[in-house]
Symmetry: C2
Subunit: 296 residues, 2 copies
């Protein structure tokens, strides 16, 4: 249904807001997070839910599951909160004296992967950093036909693997989450561990560290992580049922369009384009699971 307006302007009469798109979504537009790829990280303010990214970093996803199952992160600390950049936990001095069991200390970096084999929902808009951006299984992503590679993009809430100078010096014992404007210079330089699907506001509202790189300058300021678990290891009754909008559907394409050109009356000039990191990735809680005393 197109209506011709003056001066050749074409407007879609049935233009929808994101709320319209979500209200009209079908159950099949949503996916339940796979418990084997879901981490619950309990911090003083509540629960942070992270979806792992085995599509992009299979060895790190495996190692993270092992680290979690061996209790590596229980009692670890958030020791860095750098404004407009990242919040970081584990590793470093907090890991001193902690020994790994079967988990690996380090792994070769999984910064990119072959683009082939990924179901890639293309975003048609130009991007400053990558030849093409889009979405893969709910993750913001990019790809380059010249190299045949694809990678996860460092949008807000992206979780990455901390490392030292060497590309193979990270393994998952230290992680960070993006809490500011997408630091896209990290793309292809860090291994994606996953994405915060719920609870990012708990990390983003932490006090910023006053030390160099946002490190807390007094150890007593560090924020203790109560425990981290793989959702699959939590009893079904206790498990949170969280659905995430699929990114390979006409509904998601409609959502992108609803945000590319906002039809809310408030907007006077629709942007006409959208940055991959400005596309919302809706999640909804179907069941919070039985209270288990964790997360405070």
């Amino acid at each position: 249904m197109l209506a011709m307006l003056g001066a050749g302007v074409v407007e879609v009469a049935a233009a929808r807001t994101m709320a319209d798109v979500l209200a009209a979504s079908k159950p099949t537009d949503w996916r339940v997070l796979d418990p084997a790829n879901t981490l619950y990280m309990d911090v003083p303010g509540g629960r942070v839910v992270i979806e792992l990214a085995p599509q992009f970093a299979p060895r790190h996803a495996d190692n993270l599951r092992t680290l979690v199952r061996e209790g590596y992160f229980d009692g670890q600390e958030i020791n860095r909160v750098q404004d407009n950049f990242v919040v970081q936990w584990g590793g470093g001095h907090a890991a001193k004296g902690r020994t790994l069991r079967t988990a690996r200390e380090t792994l070769p970096g999984e910064f990119t992967r072959p683009a082939k084999g990924l179901k890639f929902t293309v975003l048609p808009d130009p991007d400053t950093y990558a030849p093409q951006t889009g979405f893969v299984d709910g993750f913001p992503a990019a790809r380059d036909s010249a190299t045949g590679t694809a990678w996860a993009v460092h949008c807000y809430g992206m979780v990455g693997v901390g490392r030292d100078i060497a590309a193979d010096s990270g393994g998952g014992t230290e992680l960070y989450a993006v809490l500011g404007h997408a630091p896209r210079q990290l793309d292809r330089n860090a291994t994606p561990a996953g994405r915060v699907v719920q609870g990012m506001e708990l990390l983003a509202a932490l006090p910023r560290g006053r030390g160099e790189l946002g490190i807390y300058d007094k150890p007593e300021l560090n924020v203790k992580i109560t425990r981290v678990r793989v959702a699959a290891d939590v009893s079904a009754s206790e498990r949170m049922v969280l659905q995430v909008l699929r990114t390979d559907t006409p509904t998601f394409e409609a959502l992108i369009e609803s945000r590319r050109n906002r039809r809310d009356e408030w907007y006077k000039v629709p942007a006409g384009r959208i940055d991959v990191c400005n596309v919302p990735l809706p999640a909804r809680v179907i069941s919070t699971g039985a209270t288990d005393g964790a997360g405070g």
Copy 2:
């Protein structure tokens, strides 16, 4: 000094990091904030310093000075903190019962302005949203030769004028600051009030509101603003002397290049490009001013 490496790769031997660029900067590369265009907003955690943007919104800058001088913001509240979007204060219910004196309640929106007359430092990299981006007097900006207009860009720390549906329904009694990934859809839809030059981390670390749009669902959660002053109205001995790197110099061009292609050993793949909102705008405190008991 260029060195030829194997396979035709040319590397700039003298490539510098941002720290190198800043260390080599001259006093003339910096400007002292104009006290007439500087606001001190004292909140429980300390002081937020805002530089007004009269280049982009002269009537609003005037009105903001008047509102501040008439005490409009003293005791007002931050009542909205929406994760990955904005923190907002003033106006709304917090303004109830408050009468304006000579300040205007509303003004016509100053969303864009003629590009002509602005000294525009061009960023050569492509942008998703605007035909061209760059910097004007320390503000991230964009312009469009087709319309001959320019506007301030909604990067992290940008302060904008809240309004209702009508384009002329804002005036400065309600303000917001961007605390997440640049919501570029606001560009050309909101009047720029200024930019947080220092203290953004105090706003960014506030607890997120649990109500719709991140509004605090209980009024007692609102964060009281102790007072707001124009720096020019503060005695010279009490005034903070803050310098900001100029954006119209070869030093700033070198800074952009140092961030476009990071030479730190940590980076394995330089991005080769940079988003206007990822270019740092360094500030340095020359003198904090005499303690005046404000800001906690």
